[in-house]
Assembly symmetry: C2
Homo-oligomer: 323 residues x 2
């Protein structure tokens, strides 16, 4: 199966590419021009792409370029991951974030409708579309009302709903995935757990005083392993229902402080935890977790890797990359 992954140089794109190649797919990935150096693992500290993967520079906001790539490749499967993802930036640059996350997606959808209408497309939406659910509405399911509280969440919801429209009106075989947070080797250290793991690895390697700096630790989040998530993407693309939305998650929440304690335990180092006022942010949502019941029912997905296994991988990644 010929697969095209947009945003292939990102954290999840790299893991997905490995998974697709391991399934025997013929994989091409797109990246934003300027990201080339990011493929140098020594610079990026990310997971290297498989050697067999074809890489294509593509600005998804360039409609003509998107049409050209789709027309040329006529992929059986498009995994559309390319997006502006780091949320705090989004609030200040709403228009730019819509440009990429919404109009970039519409470019791909239109290109498929016109030039490759039998392609399937998996759109990676986000659990951020649910935002702040009403009290008593956990676990979050695909039928939980959308109540985004960030521009990022609004942009993802907009494109998510557009995919529904294209599936119903243009007959495109599109599915939408709303993943909860996922962790793994190569994740940007702006994300809390990756950041903690990096600090602990530095301590273990003697590159840092045994003090770890943290922000809020009270919020509870639903964490999955990135390997489980990318496996779900392929299963959803193959066996999900046309137009449907699927939540992928672990099904339970854990306090961020508890994740940190587990990381410390896995690392077998003694560390002092120090709250860094600069890292403290208001916690909008104290607790959030989803249900993967629909994914399980429709294509048999459930998570396989537990949190401890994931933390082992992340710590191992940092130890290897910082050594």
């Amino acid at each position: 199966m010929r697969a095209l992954v947009t945003g292939g140089f990102g954290f999840v794109g790299r893991h997905l590419s490995h998974h697709l190649v391991s399934c025997g797919d013929d994989v091409a990935v797109t990246y934003q021009a300027g990201e080339e150096k990011a493929d140098d693992v020594s610079v990026n500290q990310g997971v290297a792409l498989p050697k067999s993967v074809q890489t294509i520079a593509l600005d998804i906001c360039d409609r003509k370029a998107v049409f050209d790539v789709i027309t040329l490749l006529k992929p059986d499967a498009v995994y559309h991951l390319a997006a502006r993802t780091f949320v705090p930036d989004a609030e200040k640059q709403a228009r730019d974030v819509f440009e990429v996350n919404l109009f970039g997606t519409l470019n791909i959808l239109d290109a498929l409708v016109e030039n490759s209408p039998t392609s399937r497309i998996l759109y990676v939406s986000s659990a951020e579309v649910y935002g702040e659910p009403k009290p008593g509405s956990l676990p979050i399911t695909e039928d939980t009302p959308l109540r985004p509280i960030s521009i990022y969440g609004v942009t993802k919801a907009s494109a998510d709903l557009a995919v529904h429209k294209y599936a119903k009106r243009e007959n495109l075989h599109g599915v939408r995935i709303r993943p909860f947070p996922h962790l793994g080797p190569g994740q940007d250290e702006r994300f809390a757990i990756s950041n903690f793991a990096k600090q602990i690895a530095e301590i273990k390697l003697g590159k840092r005083e045994p003090v770890i700096k943290v922000g809020n630790l009270e919020a509870r989040r639903d964490y999955s392993d990135v390997s489980d998530i990318v496996r779900g993407y392929r299963e959803a693309l193959l066996n999900g229902k046309r137009g449907e939305a699927y939540t992928l998650c672990s099904g339970k929440s854990v306090e961020i402080g508890e994740v940190l304690q587990q990381l410390i335990k896995v690392s077998e180092v003694d560390v002092e935890i120090q709250v860094d006022p600069e890292r403290l942010r208001p916690v909008d949502i104290p607790d959030s977790y989803g249900s993967y019941g629909r994914a399980q029912k429709d294509f048999g997905w459930k998570p396989r890797i537990d949190l401890e296994g994931t933390l082992h991988s992340i710590l191992g990644y940092w130890l290897e990359n910082l050594a």
Copy 2:
């Protein structure tokens, strides 16, 4: 109370302006430059605006102009109706429709946050955000999953969710209304019921053979009177909960053919109904109706005018304007 109505020259904007003036509000409306002649009732065949209303030419896509108007007026209440509304056009011009319906709305929201943060805003979303609900999910409530099947529906949902974000994150007092179809004097004859009423009025006035041309008559829709809807807008703005979405509707559906029969009965003319193949469009959604339970609970709204009353008004309007 100083009220600003965007899209004030539209069908609903005119009715809303009358209602606000009758409540003692000080009303300004914005219109799109070029719409001036539309205020000439003889050209537009719309309901004239009250004389006391201030009119302001404003392109809501012009961010600076929007900021200027908001800064100048500092309205207590903004009723944001301006939008590209006629749905069939939208599919071909997605980008333009987002420009007005989404980014125009973001311009207003940002202007309020920066220059008039105590203003309240009512965003007129649409029942089109629900699109094609899953079987067995009638009546539609505010918690029914969004499944739009038109670009128009996607644009309205996007802005609707953005209003939620601004209410929660920027502390703006915004409410969202998702009205089901509403009827009344002055509605564009591209809409089926207004079109039927115009044809019947022409027949009654002897300006047309006693044959009425129709498209599909089987679909069932939930129709309200525009007067009930605009009353609900003011009540929602004053007493709705910050950030909440409200469905306004009649709570029941009626077959379009049955509405036509009622119109004919009200008109007391003999007509032949002829199906015009050019008017036949695929019916996406055979039946749709909502529940106004949340609006009733939160601010005591319920419809007052029954369908027969509405049809009398519409027919009377056309008879007067075509005479």
